[in-house]
Symmetry: D2
Subunit: 339 residues, 4 copies
């Protein structure tokens, strides 16, 4: 009987059919434990395309999905500034919730949300995709096993192959912090298992011309102090010609563990001038392809009440908070206390 | 119009719902360009299980599928000794054909098949899965580009993590040659683009006790001479405790290219006594997971008349032939000419 | 004629026969272009031991060596607090000078020395050993070639296997900055070819008990801003159980270059649980063994008037200055301007 | 007393001042436990040059050195066809002997020598330099520790960067076997600790034009069967554009161990098209520089009566024997029994 129940599919409504929404839609539709019922998307073109490809029904508005009692879970992949509200409504509707990072774009509103959500018992989870990467998860497991002793230093390198479009960068000044490094701050908290107490950051603009006409920040570093005494250094850039550079290194009293980069292939070519391998996987779609699938696995586990390590709204709030304060530090040139 | 046509799904009947058949069934069902209509399998339990999981219809016999004119392609994943006959019947029925290696188990019958098939124009392709691995395919591309000059030597290492069950080994004496090394011989022909003229092989039994009570061959080497003068060395074993060891190395007048092993993760742990990484991916299911999907992509391309490098029945015949002669060489201790 | 002159050996007096002095003595004695005439060392036991082993004459005091006109060069490897004075006297005596880092321990005195030395023309060089490492030098060459474009970020990791004796640590509070990270600051300036404008540092004490009873700083990080806009992050520790961790990474607009760690051997062991390699070379004696020999090569070149990239007294002063200010930053918690 | 004696230097006469003789001369002269007294060399120019550079005395003939009772050891680095005779005379003179491989060029004469030498007790050692490489020695240690279980397969790759001069190649037909692969056969015996029973070899000529006008063999493979049942594959070439390719791989019932290649530097460059490292060390002078020093260390140990694993005349005889029979196999196309 129990077995039968766990085999029952979870009915899901997806909100958002943009680039990342489409990616989730395909993975959800393919997942053995998920029935994707609705694709909610204001743009009919986008919405119908994704709904048709996945056998779901397109809705222009979330209301019908939220009211449909057969919908157990809502999967939010809409624009960042709509997250807080969609979470709030889905929580009230009693749905289990997955929401892409960030949990919101307005710190005060996010804090209100966090306190409102205290009364809800269903899983309300934030999609920090990197936590679901097999190599990063193995690193975390090794740190927790004690194999490297007490953690003393963490180094995170995080470089995108190309900057987002200039219009997007202009619309989100300092976005490198709350768009990109927010992942790194989440990884730091996740790996260390403690809170950051202070952040010092630098930000630079190296890219010229068409790719960054407004000279927005395109590179940044951050140094986090934490409650355990461990220090974390982050290095981020919006442009790395050799591919998507994603590394975590944790140094402890008994050793070190690294989650290293992933090449496009495992081929090595030996020539007279050099030994060559292919560059890194190009971007998160390739690098974290498996992570997006594991994310659904873990979400299903959470909905079914099995133990899970899924990041929750508090994790989303903390990573956003550090990002915002890091941006302030970069602008002022001084470290900022995180209380 | 053309675009619309290429987007039409290809209707497929799968033959065989054992371990490898089930793997193909899932990939076929998921593939955007394939409609899996039938699962043909004598065992009702196996057949229904796979058919239900993929939305296909179970048939106990292939006849109905072969007669159904909506079925464009047959995907053969049944036991090795049924391959020749299923190919023959599917060819007569005008179906495009994918067949798992080997093309058969009886050399004479395979030769008859090869000559019979000369009159058919549809794609009749053999599933040497390794050719579809992204790293191996990249190695082939590099060799063809001339980057390493004229090929002089090829080294192939091919070690399974564990031997098959003793009953299976006993039923297929010398199976390490036509079961396992057949892949290596295919790779050698594929990479070199020439035929082998002579094979010298050794075979050993190293595994004792329950795993190999009949002392069947569990390790073997082969040396191939070829029409181009290049020499190929193969090293194979049915047991490698560190995982599935799959390497190709091609040495030429201007350099060398290697397709290297794939670890389970990209994590590296630095301790006082050693620096550790995780062992290799365990077996072909993990190592060649993507290759099985690419195999379908390429098959779809072949059915649609696009250029393809898919191995054909002649390739299947040649790899089988070398395997059989290698076994003779190992037994006699002398090199065997391949005519 | 010229050729003959360049083949003439350079007569050298070594000052200091402690651990590092003995190392230099052996390398000097072995060098084809050097005649080691004197070993100056107050301790008769140490001095005689090193002099005997190298065929040199022991002197308890430098005066005789400084007055001997056949001595062309002085090689200073005495305790750090004696460096400034030995350099001053050797410069007055007209000798070419090699001096181990740091150039001194007192910032004001070092600044006086720097201005005094302006009138001397002979080579007065500081032994930042890492600049002579073949891999680090190759990294520098690649950066200068423009292969990675404009430098945007530098990451330096620098971890010793074990802390120095507690007595030494107690006598040099904050020594991790001017003892160890001074090398990293020199590397940053050398690789970037620009000056640092600001430093932000953190310092921690992680080691307990007998190894660090006084809880001196044993781990530190630093972030340097520079005149070019490039930012440099340094991560240093006095204890790494897996060996001497020495890495430089330079990230630019067109790529990245890394000088990676050196293992004890190139052996790889594949087991059922892990793939293992040997830990890193244990310490600077092993890791920089070749660098110490190249240091002499380059010094000989400098004495002979050939072009050289040898660090000079100004380099020594700048690295010391950044170290001292980094220590202040770590203590105050705020970034410090480097003027 | 004992300590004093072990600290006494061993007086050595070097025979041969060609390329490899000069290399040994410098290492011997530098070695703390060796006094190089004579350099024996028929060519006055070569002999004086090496003698002068090392503080030794030049002799045109070995007789004086053999008669000088202060000479404890003879270090033979003369042309290969003089080895057997120099060993014979030195043995009679009671000297400890180091002789470069091969032990001779005439199999019958070598066999006579082997039986003559049975009555001598002093160390008579053959210089297979690879045994003294730290990585290869570590591999051997790991195999002996049982960490990889029973050895089942050995793979040795051995490729020189460039062929020797055409005149040399013409004068030594089949030289790739007794010149180059002789090292690999020695390594196989050393690692396995058993004798080879049969050899099958192939040989090819790939290099054209000026580098190999006589189309001598420039590439070869060999397969050795052994008394333990382990099989060894060797792949050798006289031309590898990417440097000196030197690898050993040992596969056993409990794992695998590899001694991998050595790059020129540890630098890695990440570009848009590829990730590059420097090619391999160019040749034996670089790759085995440390091995040549360790060779002297071990020889000194042998002369002092300490336990040693130095290859002896029997090892030299066996490696030569396999080489000669491998050449016969390559010529005939059939495996050859090694009795």
């Amino acid at each position: 009987m129990v077995e039968e129940m766990t085999n029952q599919k979870i009915t899901v409504a997806l909100i958002g059919a943009g680039f990342i929404g489409e990616l989730h839609a395909k993975n959800l539709a393919r997942h053995a434990d998920v029935a994707l019922k609705y694709v909610v998307e204001p743009s009919e073109a986008l919405g119908r395309k994704v709904a048709d490809a996945t056998g779901a029904r397109w809705l222009s508005d979330a209301a019908e999905a939220y009211e449909d009692s057969s919908v157990e879970a809502v999967w939010i992949a809409s624009p960042a500034n709509t997250h807080t509200d969609f979470i709030r409504r889905a929580a009230k509707a009693g749905k289990a919730i997955f929401c892409e990072k960030p949990v919101g774009m307005n710190m005060e509103d996010v804090d209100v949300l966090v306190s409102e959500l205290r009364e809800y018992k269903q899983p309300i989870l934030i999609g920090f995709n990197r936590r679901f990467d097999a190599s990063h998860a193995r690193l975390k497991e090794i740190v927790e096993s004690g194999a490297i002793g007490e953690v003393e230093m963490v180094s995170i390198t995080s470089r995108d192959p190309n900057p987002p479009p200039p219009a997007y960068m202009k619309a989100t000044p300092g976005g490198i912090f709350y768009d990109t490094m927010i992942h790194d701050f989440d990884i730091a908290r996740w790996v260390l298992g403690v809170e950051a107490t202070e952040v010092y950051a630098t930000a630079s603009s190296h890219i010229n011309g068409e790719l960054n006409p407004d000279r927005e920040y395109d590179a940044a570093t951050a140094t986090l102090k934490t409650t355990s005494g461990a220090v974390c250094q982050v290095s981020a850039s919006r442009r790395a010609v050799y591919g998507y550079d994603q590394r975590i290194e944790v140094f402890g009293s008994k050793g070190m563990v690294q989650s290293q980069n992933h090449g496009k292939t495992n081929v090595k070519v030996y020539g007279a001038d050099a030994i060559r391998t292919d560059p890194l996987k190009n971007f998160f779609i390739d690098r974290y392809a498996d992570a997006y699938v594991r994310e659904i696995d873990q979400f299903v586990g959470a909905v079914r009440g099995e133990t899970t390590n899924f990041p929750n709204v508090w994790d989303g709030r903390q990573a956003l908070h550090i990002s915002m304060e890091a941006l302030k530090s970069a602008r002022s040139g001084s470290p900022v206390s995180l209380k």
